[in-house]
Symmetry: D2
Subunit: 367 residues, 4 copies
């Protein structure tokens, strides 16, 4: 007997991240798209007419003629995925949360608010309890949950299993980030052909001060106690389509040996994997033994759910810190739409979308 | 009145670095090519027939029909530039030095020998005195002088003015290196399109342990006292034709403020610039104020002698070290052939190519 | 009840095309790999040790430790797929055919022999009857069947539905071919970054004189009467990983209107599609209506079997010929390994691999 | 004795073509920039503040602080170079011509007007006499002269020497055009990495119907009799920074042999070369004998004036036409700003900028 799926909307459905939401929600066992929302300029048009589809494959056939709606909280859905730019997200997401919708947002607008979960389900699932704080404080019926910046996501994913065992104290990271991270049209072809741009506005600040400390922080029942570590980040844009590569050096509170680090990654089996969430990669972290991997083109889709795993390689001692290694992750899948979607899957299993929805999670186990 | 120029040969003239030597020696005020030497496979052929010219512009017309000679020390020249691969350089360069030739080598074979200068004329010109140690110890009439690896060159060039004033203690560097650094054919197009390769064999070792400490070391009259600093390096290959970009963080013995660092670079006026060597860029270091520079395509040829300057930008505080910044330099010009050539220009002015040759240096001043 | 699959070997399993054979044969309903053969240099090693895997995804786990065999006709298989280079293919493929193996070859060695089928199953399936001529003439127990060059494949695939209806008389084609067509390592990264190379050795000759006329020719019971048409080709290499793009202009014996051409493509339903061969894309030809498609990155994997369809777009009148349009196809899938594999699927259904094997084809229909 | 130079303005000085004008006018022997004009948004700002410099090298130091003026015909100049987009060029260029300025325009607005010269100085210098027709008809004191589209320029440059000797009747051309042809920011990096876009809006029409026939036409004293030839063009965008590559096939009225074609190119010595105009490359056409040249990266700057020559290679018979070959030219130099500049140099020598200005041309001969 088929239970009805949870109805969801996509805010900002025509952009690069919006398209990923649409693509990843196709055939989802728990969610079904009932509304595609866009800016006023696009609202009223058919999706196929308003949207330049830029990801491989074609726009899902049955959505081509769906009429885009404005981003207003009067759609037939329980949950919305927000791919809005930060400037419009602030107001719109609040309107939806006030009106009782759950909002899984990829925007940065609310990430740093004390009562808004900044969530990677493998890393800090217990932070979703901030939703209760948020509702109490703001008087909303709905809620907002956010996922981190694409570069932060894979850095923290790689560090988390090490942090819980050995205590990460210092992190040095240099990113080589893909062009899709800048959206579409994003960067000019003139700037990226035969070139590297050693600057991404605001990115270093997010990595150094704002996101990892919250993600790795401790929820004390009322708020997050930020993790105590120092991070230095250089961010660069390279001529790669998808996949952020990060050269990382780490110093620990208690220095492990290499085998212990490899074991920490290998044995990592956090909640989303235990719950077998549909978009939880099994395993969450892949370690590639080759001397020159991971590489963006070869590894960005590695693992059981393409684009959702973090791939690590080249663990070796560091003359200044304890160890250095390379991490890679897909920026528009796990680093954006896929991150939000996994958040929604976690919320569903934890009852934040209602009892009926939570029952859907059982269907997976049976199958 | 025209003085005769110093006759020079190029060893390994058909390869990527050999071509750069040939290109840069065109119209040189002090040196003229009298012999092009190549492997046995190519020796006996016309240069144009044996060599696939891969750098922009055409092979100099008057060299097209020059017959390539084997790499044997019986050529009519006083000095040879070596673009040989390390495996054949060891024996051949020694043969030339024994036979009385000066050898300016780009190979790594002798770089780490205690009595062989590893030279950047701006950084450690006094190390050429090791030639006397070398001759005494080895009984050679000629000598070997080497230049460092392409990544090391620009790292040390950027650090040198700071080291002499503030004492560099710790350096963290992540390189994004151009494909021309791997020679021709070098890397497969399949490996670099839409990709980054986070590994370059042997490169991190050279930067961490072997070269910077010698370059920044002190010549005590008999040998080099290596500089006391700790360096950590991650090396990556990116889809850029020419120009190695380096994200650098530094800790000093005495922490300067930003203005003092900028002044150290701005006021840098080392020996080659004072001597107005033909290939000494004026100034040696360029600081670009733009928030997203230097960039390889835009800046690799910046300055008064294209490809010879080091370009720096984005100086800012580092949460883990004192400061971080970006440095860029051309890898096959200053980082290879141009480095050797500047070494030769320094040697000439310092009398290591004889009194008559040294007199040539005067001609420049007049002009 | 499971019937045993047909045992197949891969000749040249370590190269770029060999890897595609291995990848595409994974989970094949009719074929199973029982032998991986390679050059003497690699024979005796484990597959994972001898092969640099260059296509996305990982080498199939269960083949990593398979020991490579020499390319000698003593393997336990009925059919071999040959990814050998032409120079070694000539002798080895003959040895296998003599020894009774069926050989589906991607090499050019036998393509132009009068008694060897040059086959695209959609275009000239009746040419497989040449196998009988071949066996009679050569006294072989086995046979050799070939597939065309990657550029020819998609040109002829696009032309075939038009040729049968309107008679193609003149064809002008300019190719923009992907780098993977040159194998691995193939082209130097130095040659393709920020560049186009307007020359591919032997390619224009294959397209102008050798392949299309045979493919579109008529089997008269004894030999092929070559099609009567004139073709002019310019071939270029562009910085694209996979997917050959072709700008094509055509003149017909009887000039159709645009709607008739579109209908010819739309209604195209040749034998492999009717037979529902496992690797036959449904439909064989896709027409993309967008004004700027097909594009390699967006469309090379389009259709029901990724990489097997030919994608066409931009049909419009031509001032010199009748019409012009753009065609795109994947060069290492349909243009190489996938072409051979589809040939093998056709051979199986037509009884050339024996009655028992032919029965396997029924299983598909049921499923 | 120094004669004063001709004062010139640049309209649209902040864009990609405007920057080229500025770069190429540096140190010009006859012209000096006295005004930089831009859109209202930029007017009033310093040039360095309003302009993102995207071409290699830096903005000329002495222009950094020049205040941009609006595009109004009240500047202190005799001649203006227009890098305006077509939509604003129509009105602005007319205003300048009415007000007495000479206008050398790169825009398409007036190219097809019967009384406006569409000019390549090597090809149709006699067309400048249309200026007299133009002035008579329109009552302007100034005038407008245009240069063709970047793809047309090099096609016609390659054909002209052949047309005058053998009569070009049919031309088939497929272009592979560089991204800089789309301006800055122009194309998205997402669209060009690992891709080719087989469509450039309006480009095929310009090449097939509008420009070559006028350029190769005959000025009968009152108007241009268009050349009688049929052209078919497919236009594509490839991931190359600068340099349009064109695969060309030609049919002649009288078929020459290969030697005659090569001689026609070799012996080509048109007016700008005879007059030794400062930006006339010597020779105008370069033929590269290598089997795989010209290539954009290697040859786009070939010749005596970088970016101004047309480079040709791979002449060979064509099965459908008489001959085929490859042509290459720089799109933003000869194909845009350099084309306008050479037009201006021709106008000066022919007296269209006044007697005093014409005298400047003598200085060159002496030097």
């Amino acid at each position: 007997m088929n239970q009805p799926k949870v109805k969801v909307g996509v805010l900002g459905a025509t952009g690069a991240v919006g398209q990923r939401f649409v693509q990843m929600l196709q055939g989802h066992p728990w969610f079904e798209i009932t509304a595609l929302c866009a800016s006023e300029r696009s609202a009223g048009k058919a999706y196929a007419d308003a949207c330049t589809w830029t990801i491989r494959g074609d726009m899902p056939e049955h959505l081509r003629n769906v009429i885009l709606r404005p981003c207003e909280p009067n759609i037939d859905a329980q949950l919305v995925f927000s791919a809005l730019p930060a400037d419009s997200a602030t107001e719109i997401e609040m309107a939806f949360a006030q009106a009782g919708y759950g909002v899984c947002s990829n925007a940065r607008s609310y990430r740093y608010d004390a009562d808004v979960p900044l969530l990677i389900p493998e890393v800090n699932p217990e932070h979703i309890q901030l939703i209760d704080v948020q509702r109490r404080k703001r008087g909303w019926e709905g809620f907002i949950v956010t996922n981190p910046n694409c570069s932060t996501t894979h850095l923290v994913s790689a560090l988390h299993p090490l942090h819980v065992r050995f205590g990460v104290r210092k992190v040095f990271v240099v990113t080589m980030q893909a062009i899709s991270g800048a959206g579409y049209p994003g960067l000019s072809a003139m700037d990226l052909l035969d070139n590297v741009v050693p600057h991404i506005g605001g990115e270093e600040e997010k990595m150094e001060k704002k996101e990892p400390h919250k993600l790795l922080g401790f929820f004390n029942g009322a708020e997050i106690d930020y993790a105590d570590m120092v991070i230095s980040a250089h961010c660069n844009r390279v001529p790669v389509r998808h996949g952020h590569l990060e050269a990382i050096s780490v110093e620990f509170a208690e220095t492990p040996d290499e085998a212990e680090i490899l074991a920490a990654w290998r044995d990592y089996y956090p909640l989303p994997q235990q719950l077998q969430l549909p978009h939880a990669p099994q395993p969450a972290i892949l370690y590639n033994e080759a001397p020159d991997r991971p590489q963006p083109r070869m590894d960005r889709l590695a693992g059981s759910v393409p684009g959702m795993a973090t791939v690590i390689g080249r663990l070796r001692p560091d003359p200044l810190f304890d160890y250095k290694f390379i991490a890679l992750g897909h920026n528009t899948i796990r680093g954006a739409a896929g991150g939000s979607l996994l958040n929604a899957e976690l919320l569903l299993t934890q009852g934040y979308l209602g009892r009926e929805a939570a029952a859907l999670a059982q269907t997976l186990q049976v199958a």
